[in-house]
């Protein structure tokens, strides 16, 4: 192990050394941050840090530097801790100042009355892995991180057995399972663990969640949740931010014991303890083996979680972008062809789907979100076609979720997060999603029946999400509005009951006898490298800048006036809104960062095609008895 990696293995050593040098000069804190930031800036250095997303918790060394790609699900109250405290060294009997930052517990023998104690403030965020992260994104980031695994050495063969023990223990003796993690692990064959790690990841936490609700926004999610202790820049973080956090892992078993041990006689005298309900304690102090603590040293807001793209906005990113821009048009054509096949030969629908996939709320003007592009694909064939379609979308985007809008799910599912005052936490709901998550609403599943009050609320929430890109979280005494940026795709038989920016009736050109087989064949025909290109394309097109020149503005205005002249009833301001969004997305999809005249004409053209289709359908429906 090179000594230069001490900052990964023993970050607390670095912190303490800096603290010791500082002579209580408060500047040392900034120095620590500076140091870690500097280390992480070095080329590739951030990939040496093991990730909580990829490596199971047991394999990570306590008190080492780890990273975690996550979503801020809840923000707890700020807490005060002993930033600096004094202890008595048992051997020399001298008073020693110690640093309490980045730690959960103090050394023994704290002098509580010391005048040198410095109280400082930190806040805890409850973080969960990014909800709906596609399996491919997880896999790729796991593989790219795999080469650092040897640094966190562990014994796979023995470990394997201990899993099974864990699983057994959990039913009988939940206490015992914590023990193995604190023991240092020996060295071992690292090749095997790589293959095994993901499987362990899937089994262990899912079992644990039966004991403890880890509060994931989406049902069936897995992965570690984490309590992140944040020391600096508290105001810069917001709920639902996606972050890559670098911090010191703390799984001290003391944390758990403290929480569980309850001496009734002490409670009477120290009422502060009794104030927390058991629910609150469970939510705020879960066992460290299940929900590790992470003391944040550095956090990077993530623009996207596509592992195929360079994540940091550095020079190599711009180089990457400019190199990809060359290919852009050809990749677009390939992707369009692929989507056309998927959408049963409907080229226009494929075009719109492509535009939808790169849409993004790029700004808000007072209440109006700009750039959202909710697509309603109507006329979808029934029988699992939509399910297949979702699987294909999932293969393309890094984050997605399919909400099957059956009567039962609409009535029973919790979509809107709600504050639970007993446990003092925000109970998550399926609409607590990271930015640019593809939300696939499958309305074909809706059958006849009655929505109950929670069903109506859920539908209203979806409507608000689509129209205003916001979710009103339920705080029981009031509601709080959280803006979001979610790409909503609605598939339905007829016109959707939800609002949408744009409705495209699907017109299949082919009617394959076996839909499943047809789609599987299309999917299989694509090479992974090809699919990867699509993935990069979709994430990249979204991040491009865009502008309209004065000249084109003028042309657009003229065009609008002309259109209104011909038929003022059919062209409204809303249509112009939509066409401007379509024009923007169309240009971006071609890698053009300004709107050209041609771009505008094309946007107008496809919008006209789409409208003629909806009108056609309207008249069809009108003839029906």
């Amino acid at each position: 192990m090179p000594s230069s990696h001490d900052w990964i293995n023993k970050p607390l050593g670095v912190v303490e050394a800096m603290f010791a040098q500082s002579n209580s000069n408060p500047e040392w804190e900034a120095k620590v941050l500076e140091y870690f930031k500097g280390q992480l800036k070095e080329k590739e250095s951030h990939s040496w840090v093991p990730s909580l997303n990829d490596v199971p918790l047991h394999y990570l060394k306590p008190n080492s530097l780890v990273k975690f790609r996550c979503l801020v699900q809840d923000m707890f109250d700020p807490e005060f801790y002993m930033g600096v405290y004094e202890t008595v060294d048992p051997s020399t009997k001298a008073n020693v100042l110690r640093c309490g930052k980045y730690k959960d517990v103090t050394e023994c023998g704290v002098d509580l009355n010391s005048r040198n104690t410095v109280t400082a403030e930190r806040q805890t965020f409850y973080c969960v892995p990014i909800p709906g992260e596609s399996p491919w994104a997880k896999e790729i980031s796991f593989l790219s991180a795999a080469r650092v695994v040897p640094s966190t050495s562990y014994v796979p063969s023995r470990q394997k057995r201990s899993y099974e023990e864990d699983d057994d223990d959990m039913d009988t003796q939940p206490q015992k399972q914590r023990e193995p993690h604190t023991e240092p692990h020996g060295n071992g064959d690292s090749k095997r663990q790589e293959t095994e790690a993901p499987s362990s990841q899937t089994t262990t936490p899912s079992d644990c969640s039966s004991h403890l609700d880890l509060n994931f926004p989406l049902p069936g999610e897995r992965g570690p949740a984490c309590l992140v202790k944040v020391y600096e820049g508290l105001d810069s973080f917001k709920l639902n931010d996606t972050l890559e956090i670098y911090g010191i892992l703390s799984v001290n078993p003391v944390l758990t014991v403290l929480g569980e041990e309850k001496d009734p006689s002490l409670l009477l005298l120290n009422p502060t303890e009794s104030m927390e309900t058991p629910e609150e304690q469970r939510a705020h102090d879960p066992p460290a083996s299940l929900v590790p603590r992470l003391h944040m040293l550095y956090a990077r807001p993530l623009q996207h979680n596509n592992p195929l793209l360079p994540s940091a906005p550095t020079e190599d990113q711009s180089a990457f972008v400019s190199s990809f821009l060359v290919e852009m048009a050809s990749v677009r054509a390939e992707l369009l062809a692929y989507l056309t096949h998927v959408l049963l030969g409907d080229g226009l629908a494929a075009e719109y789907l492509l535009l939808h996939l790169i849409s993004d709320v790029y700004t808000r003007r007072d209440v109006l979100p700009l750039g959202k592009f909710t697509l309603n694909l109507s006329g979808c064939p029934l029988n699992s076609y939509t399910e297949r379609l979702y699987q294909i979308v999932q293969q393309l985007v890094p984050c997605s979720y399919r909400l099957s809008m059956s009567l039962h799910t609409m009535n029973s599912m919790r979509l809107v997060p709600k504050k639970d005052y007993v446990a003092n936490r925000l109970v998550s709901g399926a609409l607590q999603l990271a930015r640019n998550t593809s939300l696939f609403l499958d309305e074909t599943q809706l059958e006849q029946g009655q929505l109950d009050s929670s069903g109506v609320r859920n539908i209203t929430a979806l409507g608000n999400l689509i129209s205003w890109q916001k979710v009103d979280y339920d705080f029981s005494y009031h509601q709080m509005e959280f803006p979001c940026n979610i790409n909503v795709l609605v598939t339905s038989e007829g016109r959707s009951l939800l609002p949408s920016d744009c409705q495209v009736p699907l017109q299949p050109q082919v009617t394959p006898p076996n839909m499943e087989e047809y789609l599987t064949t299309i999917h299989m025909a694509q090479f992974t490298s090809q699919i990867n290109k699509f993935r990069v394309y979709l994430s990249l097109a979204r991040t491009l800048d865009y502008s309209i020149s004065d000249e084109v503005t003028k042309a657009v205005e003229d065009d609008f006036v002309d259109m209104r002249k011909d038929d003022p009833q059919s062209v409204t301001a809303e249509d112009l809104h939509r066409m401007l969004v379509v024009a923007r997305l169309l240009s971006l999809s071609l890698g053009q960062t300004t709107l050209s005249r041609d771009g505008w004409m094309r946007a107008k053209h496809i919008d006209m095609l789409r409208r003629s289709r909806t009108e056609q359908q309207k008249s069809l429906n009108g003839n029906e008895p």
Binding site: L266, L269, M275, L580
Partner: protein, 814 residues
Amino acid sequence: MDRSKISTPTLRCFVETGPDHLCINVFSSVLPSEVDMSSPLMYGTPSSRVEGTPRSGVGGTPARQRPDLGSIRKAPQVDLHSEPPSADGAVASEQALGQKLVIWGTDVNVGTCKEKFQRFLQRFIDPTSNEDENAGLDLNEPLYMQKLEEISVVGEPVLNVNCSHVQSFDADLYRQLISYPQEVIPTFDMAVNELFFERFPDSILEHQIQVRPYNALKTRNMRSLNPEDIDQMITISGMVIRTSQLIPEMQEAFFQCQVCAFSTRVEVDRGRIAEPAVCRNCNTTHSLALIHNRSAFSDKQMIKVQESPDDMPAGQTPHTTIVYAHNDLVDKVQPGDRINITGIYRAVPMRENPRQSNVKSVYKTHIDVIHFRKTDEKRLHGLDEDSDQKLFTEERVQILKELASKPDVYDRLSSALAPSIYEHEDIKKGILLQLFGGTRKDFSQTGRGNFRAEVNILLCGDPGTSKSQLLQYVFNLVPRGQYTSGKGSSAVGLTAYVMKDPETKQLVLQTGALVLSDNGICCIDEFDKMSDSTRSVLHEVMEQQTLSIAKAGIICQLNARTSVLAAANPVESQWNPKKTTIENIQLPHTLLSRFDLIFLMLDPQDEAYDRRLAHHLVALYYQSEEQIEEEFLDMAVLKDYIAYARTYINPRLNEEASQALIEAYVDMRKIGSGRGMVSAYPRQLESLIRLAEAHAKVRFSDKVETIDVEEAKRLQREALKQSATDPRTGFVDISILTTGMSATARKRKEEVAQALKKMIQSKGKTPAMKYQQLFDDLRGQSEAAITKDMFEEALRALADEDYLTVTGKTVRLL
């Protein structure tokens, strides 16, 4: 259970007098050993004691421990006792002695501090006070002396002191109070008691007066609390979300030696009791045992307070704080209350566990309450202009005033309103005036009740003319706004409903959107989709501004002083210019007449407009970041501007303006009278006044002047021009809105009826006629086209005259 002390078996008889009357004197000047000897005497109820030996003065009235301040006695102050002996002479001597002494760790000198506070009580006058607590007090007399007098009459030994008064009187004293509340407040207590008993030597109080400071100017947002505030006095605002059961907290432990029965008391120090290891009397070690029922307890309650949604940064979750209420502050607040809390911020280290070598390095924080003040209490009764305790900094006010002094402030503000929505200048102006509202007038003395000050606006028009967007904008702009959709709301959702509280199993009244938006704006989208029963509740709200509820045995009237901003779509999905407003939106005219302004948002379909619209929209999509920044600033300024004007500006009509209003009204009446129709009703005059007042508010003017009236007139005319124009004649006809039918339409109806009557008469004596044939005949005879509706209406009119009856398909003459 109020600081009760449960006696040992030998003293049981005293317990039965009820815990409330139990009064134990622990902190008076008597020494603990004396207490024990004289304990049977000390357990008397206050009344019984008064009968025996009348007590008065500082010494006679028992002090009550203040758990909210922590342990007072601990202050390590060698030369001074925080609880001085009762004799007045002793105080004087102590003052002389204590000149140089300060309480350890502070710069508080007890003597000086006491003197200063007494001077404050005796001299402080606040002639400008408008707090409701001071109602009935003479503002030119020392305020707090009057309050002391009140205490002597009412007998409630609590003196609330406004910290801003202290600050304006003596800034140094205020600083000490904020920084060392634990030491200074007992000194205040001492001072006030001396003063009180000097003045009212014969008054009898349950315990000594306690000083409760409030409104510490260091009013804090919960979010801004930081470690520096520990042990300081703070005032924060928030909303109660949970309250605990009552917790008896041990204040003083009673130990008795098992060997010699010697007893001793130990005060609880920061949640811990130092158990005496050795008996002082017989020197036996570890012989002392805790006697629970002779220990002293006090009431305590844990309250969780959450940051109020108004002062939170966007995108973060609200913080919560634990608050402890003690003694009589227990059960003062309920979940859902919005309160201002004054208290001492505390941080307690996690307990050290002897079995554990290292501990969690986290402190638990809470606030010990000294004073509660409900902020929404007053909303239930009376006016409350100050309920929005929005504080404006000097600079902010300066900015606002500067803005107000600009001549084009009205246009500036209206263009800052919803900049993403194109044009509709007059509608924006109308909404702007709605945001400001008129002046509240109270005529309840003369029996007419409150006059509505709120402006109601209805927007109707073609779908897709960004009505909803405008509503959303307004909803986001005002602090107490509600947004509902007519489709999704029921009558109870708008008003109030009774439900069972899952925790207490009691019936509670849950208020709906209209009540929640009291003093705000209730935005109702899809007004036309609302069911009739739901709409009917609006009648009361929109004129009387109250809501009467009679449900599940709960009968009450709630204030709903809300402005309604509604949006409605035409029934035929597209506005039909050939029909009147009523016909287009199919709303009852009784409701329509309650709207001050009714605007049509129509697609003008003209080229120049289209061009400007296109330009506006395209610009919206590519405007640069800075321009967006600029606008955000505008929204914040606009918010503050409105809040300031609503709180501080109450314009009244001046003479010229009243004349102008009268003229305007007379003119309006005149227009119609020439054509035999009524073109204005008193309601129009009232709304004209409201609009003029609102416009004066926009200018930050305390007087309503002619220009305000002019603008109000113009706006009302614009709105009427749009909504009350009779499509048949092209004239503005207010009766379209007030009676649902234009005068010409009514005239036509009469003509048709007359024609029908004539025709029937001309037919001679035919007692019965076929309905269809009559209709055909009439159509053939008439020059103008006669619809079936018109025919039926004519028949009905004639039936009303008792000329004929219609039975099925035949018409019979009478």
